[in-house]
Subunit: 253 residues, 2 copies
């Protein structure tokens, strides 16, 4: 609850905004106070900066942010997501132009794309774009527009048109809900247009969802289950197998 403390944090935040890290020592010097004061600023006031092993980093940057480290439980939960993406990976071939949907489901897939020599990724999600931008061998096409923080993705009127102009080979679509009767749905309405456009354009349509999404309906409906050529999922229980005969979608469980 201090004006000067807030000022210091603002100064540091500005210094970090361009990216990079700042050693506690340098931060203290920059603000002309002791290291202890910077420490206290950080613990007292809530800020976007976090201290990671003596270095200040912007907490709201992906890759640092979730200060709640992946503990063992989360690591095992990650394993599930990872396995799901491994299955999806089996459908990807050299030279593909992939549409990658927003959300966190498909994130583990992205780093694996570095094993290919030539690939193009089309996406409308900022987190996906950041991960793909780091891959030297993958061309990235980001469909821009107005940013929606909730889903870390972009929306615009002519997104559908932009997608249709691209030669998308395979569309990897994620969902928040999958129901036999009510179809496939997500949370945000602005995701509907790009998802539908990708489904309409792509030569092969893959729905990638973990088993926990089955039987769930979310506000924004965007496709019927038989709009997909493949459903990639994880569980092998009764839940997933009941979808086996439905539509023309072969199920990989």
């Amino acid at each position: 609850m201090n004006g000067r403390s807030a000022q210091r944090l603002a100064k540091l935040q500005e210094a970090l905004a361009s990216g990079g890290t700042l050693h506690l020592r340098d931060a203290a010097e920059l603000c002309d106070v002791s290291e202890m004061t910077i420490r206290r600023d950080l613990t007292t006031q809530a800020s976007a900066i976090s201290l990671l092993g003596g270095r200040l980093v912007m907490a709201n940057y992906p890759g640092v942010t979730p200060i709640y480290d992946l503990t063992e439980q989360q690591a095992s939960h990650y394993q599930a997501k990872y396995r799901l993406c491994q299955r999806a990976l089996a459908f990807i071939e050299e030279g593909d132009t992939l549409f990658i949907d927003c959300g966190s489901t498909l994130m583990p897939l992205l780093s694996q794309l570095s094993h290919f020599n030539e690939l193009t990724v089309v996406t409308y999600a900022l987190n996906v774009a950041n991960a793909v931008a780091a891959l030297p061998n993958v061309r990235l096409v980001l469909l821009g527009g107005l940013f929606y923080p909730a889903s870390q993705s972009f929306g615009s009127d002519n997104m559908a048109a932009a997608i249709e102009r691209l030669g998308i080979n395979k569309a990897l679509i994620s969902a928040a809900g999958v129901d036999l009767e009510r179809g496939v749905s997500c949370f945000h309405f602005h995701e509907v247009a790009p998802k539908q456009a990708a489904i309409a354009t792509a030569m092969q349509r893959l729905l990638v969802v973990d088993a926990s999404k089955f039987g769930v309906v979310r506000p924004a409906y965007f496709a019927a289950l038989d709009n997909f050529d493949v459903v990639v999922t994880d569980g092998e229980g009764a839940h997933s197998s009941q979808y086996l005969g439905c539509g023309n979608a072969p199920l990989l469980s």
Copy 2:
């Protein structure tokens, strides 16, 4: 030079790809080796992962990446960029729709935008988008397209058209070279179209360059000096003042 070491790193990289940090302890457990082995992997093999205070982070994420911490020299160099942006900030008003150019020049400006209540930022640069996405009070419009790693920005055929459809208030343009006779230039040709479109559409055009760019010519010409309403620069030496009378551009030095 070890296959198993590389495999471990790949595994860890995949675990980190979705963002977040992994404690050395957890990483060791995940790979079923000792912490020391992970340490050795990291130092032996070049990888995108770096160790920051006992935690593994993706080095190629902005905000962590430049492991070369801002030392005192860099901090002072930052001060110069910061002051330049402070001057540019003076031209920004509540409710503005700003076009923010790519490059690192305008990065220190972005965090300062959090002091406004309502602002819209239009950009075609990924680093700018990431910084703005973190600001809750600033609407972000990202102009997408094919990603150019060299400038961390996007290019597309209809970028000019997309820019012209927006009601851009003020265009903040950066440059790699400014010359009285040869005009204003940058490195990459795909930047020319968005820059020119922003200059054409915006109500107010600001060129933001530090004094070191004066007298320099770069491959891609994109504007004459008198296309700008304001030139924001830092030095107050003879170099910058010689531009004072030129065109209709009032100089803020």
